[in-house]
């Protein structure tokens, strides 16, 4: 059994990232005591639902927002990052923060996204890791895999970017002079209200809370969406990474996927059209197998590089980082992988 395969390495990085993000409080402490979001000045008279404000004050180690679901709802005391970038964008727009507060974070985000794009999804995001682990448990238990039906799949990109636009639209609507400023409080948390991470992450820190508010029509709508998204996430027991296909953070990164510096490259002539890459892709990416056009780095690709790992033709698929090839496809003899052995 080979130990240092790409899959195993990625799994290890995912586990480390997971522990770092979810259980930082166990490992790290800081002395900073912050209540709310100090960078964003919230007017004192805004009423937020109870479930939104965490019980105690919380601290974080790194004063930044990751492009993934580095959720702020994770731990009470110490957590690694302030929140996810989507939430930051959402809040900054709604509260009309001055540029000097969001420009450095935006630049950091662009920097991270341009270099790695959706590799954040494939290697770091804890939600992705939980998704994949649930899928893997299903495999061990012997349940059949389900594939998202074609009829639904064709609407997914539209929905993904549609929802992303919806979040930004709501955020913008508040600051435009059209009289929706009353909803500032509600619209500022549209991202968190609908995100499944809010419910899932605290589970791992020992907190189980299904905090869905139906107190006013806006919260009602958000909660319906939130429950639906939570169910989508839970279905990752049967489907492969279903939440990742509509995740707004992922959608943001998707926009930069085609130009990121960590990319795949395919030498079309070496491809024998065996279809293994397409079958193995956790995101059901069908453009890898294609031999025309250059659509191999689509918005869907989470850079897990399983396609490159399993491609049987030498040098057909390559991983390039800043133009340098760092991993090539090669014919590999079938050995039992650490994670795939099916001994029950």
């Amino acid at each position: 059994m080979k130990l240092f395969t790409l899959s195993n390495t990625r799994r290890a990085v995912q586990i480390i990232a997971f522990f770092l993000l979810v259980y930082t409080s166990i490992f790290l402490t800081t002395g900073i005591d912050i209540e709310g979001l100090p960078f964003v000045s919230v007017p004192k008279d805004v009423v937020r639902p109870e479930w939104y404000a965490p019980e105690k004050g919380y601290t974080e180690v790194f004063d930044t927002y990751l492009p993934i679901k580095s959720c702020r709802f994770i731990a009470d005391e110490n957590r690694a990052f302030r929140a996810c970038f989507m939430h930051f964008a959402n809040e900054s727009i709604v509260w009309n923060s001055p540029p000097e507060e969001w420009i450095p974070h935006l630049l950091l985000f662009l920097f991270a996204a341009l270099i790695f794009a959706r590799a954040w999804c494939g290697w770091i995001c804890p939600l992705g890791f939980i998704s994949e682990s649930a899928f893997w448990i299903r495999k061990k238990l012997g349940f059949k895999e389900r594939k998202i039906p074609e009829k639904i799949k064709q609407y997914i990109p539209a929905f993904k970017y549609g929802f992303l636009s919806f979040v930004f639209l709501l955020s913008l609507l508040v600051i435009l002079p059209i009289g929706l400023s009353a909803f500032q409080g509600e619209f500022s948390i549209v991202n968190c209200a609908t995100c499944p991470a809010r419910t899932i992450f605290p589970l791992f820190a020992g907190k189980f809370s299904l905090d869905f508010s139906f107190s006013n029509p806006v919260y009602f709508l958000f909660s319906i969406i939130g429950i639906a998204f939570l169910l989508v996430f839970i279905s990752s027991f049967f489907f492969s990474r279903p939440w990742c296909r509509i995740c707004p953070s992922g959608a943001l990164l998707s926009l930069l996927n085609p130009v990121s510096f960590l990319r795949k490259e395919k030498e079309k002539e070496k491809c024998t059209s065996c279809g293994i890459c397409e079958r193995i892709c956790p995101m059901d990416n069908t453009t890898i197998q294609e031999k025309k056009g250059d659509s191999i780095n689509t918005g869907n690709c989470i850079r897990c590089f399983r396609c490159v790992e399993h491609c049987p033709e030498e040098d057909c698929l390559k991983v390039k980082f800043f133009g340098k090839t760092i991993y090539k496809s090669k014919y590999k003899e079938k050995t039992e992988s650490l994670l795939d052995s099916t001994k029950k």
């Binding site: 895999e145 024998t272 079958r279």
Partner: protein, 449 residues
């Protein structure tokens, strides 16, 4: 209720439950024509042809000693073994039929594509004269009741080319024939679905034939076993890239031919031993041809044992074949079955895709993958020229020759088109052509220096 069913099926990803028995049923039955009295005579002829080939192959210097196993199997020791084992035997044509399913049901698979010239005449009583020689040769085995076809209780024929399709129809008079509907377009999702359904029907039919259900574990084990076989074969192919050619094309084709009917595990073990020996030979600088021998690529219609006429002529002319692109050579065992999901649907999907999607057979509407692979093989094996072998009356390969010619012109690789059949009457003319081809390449090389 129907809507619910559809939703359920869509979500569960199950293949349709409409099963169909692939058996070919004829209404216009004929009394099968046979010549049983001649079986012994032809048995000797076929053995003779094999021995002739072996004699010339064994006399070559530096032939790996591990080839002795394959020599033994091809001269007939397998027949007794199969009879003694008492297992069911199933014959098939082409390289689209998954042996994984057969091994899982404990059925012995035998690929029936034949290269014997002697058995062609008897077939011409039933099949027309103007038909692919390979089809006539294989059919003749049945008419004469020769092994190993005689041991097969069923013949599985995919609808790949016209000749095979109609031959299957006539073969149904002699033995049960299962015809599997191979899609004409291989690059569409619908085709993969269709082929997957055919695979499920095939699996059911094999279960009924073998009298035992194929469990998921059995299929998993057989897939892993045959994956080991492909792994060993790929290793063998890699070794052929060596600058000093370590094994002749004839030996290579013999090794693949033996895999048509040999036990997979034993074959794999012996190929691994052969690879070990070849590795040592390469290290010591031992090869079967001299260093500056012209390296050729053989592509086109299959050259099946014992029809090594073209190979003999090429050898006599002093050239070597570094690699071939034929369905009885490199492409019989090339693609691996990569299973991610070890559930029954997952295994079946992986198997169905492997046997359909990467195929380079010209029976499909678009076969551009073959041209890609051709240019890749030329680069990987550092080939100086291409011999495009066409069996007379094989329209499929003949038609693709035009595209191959244009592609090779662009790559500046010389190509020789050779149209021939199984008979020995055109050896002189072929020699002239092949020698002229060699002269062409030599002058080209000199010009480049």
């Amino acid at each position: 209720m129907q809507v619910l069913n559809n939703v359920k099926r869509a979500l569960l990803g199950d293949v349709t439950q409409e099963k169909e028995n692939p058996i070919l049923e004829r209404r216009y039955e004929e009394e099968p024509y046979s010549e049983p009295g001649k079986t012994e005579e032809f048995r000797k002829k076929i053995l003779n042809a094999s021995m002739q080939n072996l004699k010339s192959m064994q006399s070559k210097k530096n032939r790996p000693k591990a080839m002795a196993y394959f020599d033994k199997i091809v001269t007939g020791s397998r027949e007794e073994e199969i009879k003694k084992s008492g297992k069911k035997v199933l014959g098939y044509f082409c390289s689209f039929i998954p042996e994984e399913i057969l091994y899982a049901a404990d059925v012995i698979p035998i690929r029936l594509c034949a290269g014997s010239f002697d058995t062609m005449d008897v077939a011409e009583g039933i099949l027309p004269r103007d038909v692919c020689p390979m089809v006539k040769s294989s059919f003749g085995f049945k008419v004469l009741g020769l092994p190993l076809m005689e041991l097969c209780e069923i013949a599985v024929v995919p609808t790949s080319c016209d000749a095979k399709k109609k031959m299957g129809y006539y073969l149904a008079d002699y033995m049960p024939v299962w015809m599997l509907h191979l899609p004409h377009k291989k690059d569409s999702d619908k085709s993969v679905k269709l082929w997957l359904e055919e695979m499920y029907d095939f699996k059911d039919a094999v279960e009924k034939f073998a009298g035992k259900k194929i469990s998921k574990k059995a299929l998993e084990d057989s897939t892993k076993l045959l994956r080991k076989r492909t792994d060993a074969f790929r290793r063998f192919l890699e070794l052929r890239k060596a600058k000093l050619i370590p094994i002749s094309e004839k030996d290579f084709l013999l090794v693949v031919y033996v895999s048509f009917f040999d036990d997979a595990e034993r074959w794999t073990k012996n190929v691994s031993l052969l690879c070990d020996e070849i590795e040592k030979n390469i290290e010591r600088g031992i090869g079967v041809h001299s260093k500056d021998t012209i390296r050729l690529l053989l592509t086109g219609s299959a050259t099946i044992w014992p029809n090594f006429k073209i190979l003999d002529i090429i050898e006599k002319a002093g050239m070597a074949i570094a690699v071939d692109q034929s369905c009885v050579g490199t492409w019989h065992l090339y693609e691996p079955v990569e299973v991610e999901e070890y559930s029954l649907p997952g295994l079946m999907q992986a198997i169905a895709e492997r046997y359909l999607s990467p195929s380079i057979c010209p029976c499909f509407t678009v076969n551009d993958d073959r041209f890609d692979n051709l240019t890749e093989l030329i680069k990987a094996y550092e080939v100086d020229g291409v011999i495009y072998h066409i069996l007379r009356l094989c329209q499929l390969f003949d038609m693709e020759a035009e595209t191959v010619k244009k592609i090779l012109e662009k790559e500046n690789i010389p190509m020789l088109k050779v149209v021939t059949d199984y008979s020995k009457e055109d050896v002189g003319q072929l020699s002239t052509r092949i020698e002229a081809f060699k002269e062409m390449i030599l002058i080209r090389e000199e010009g480049e220096k």
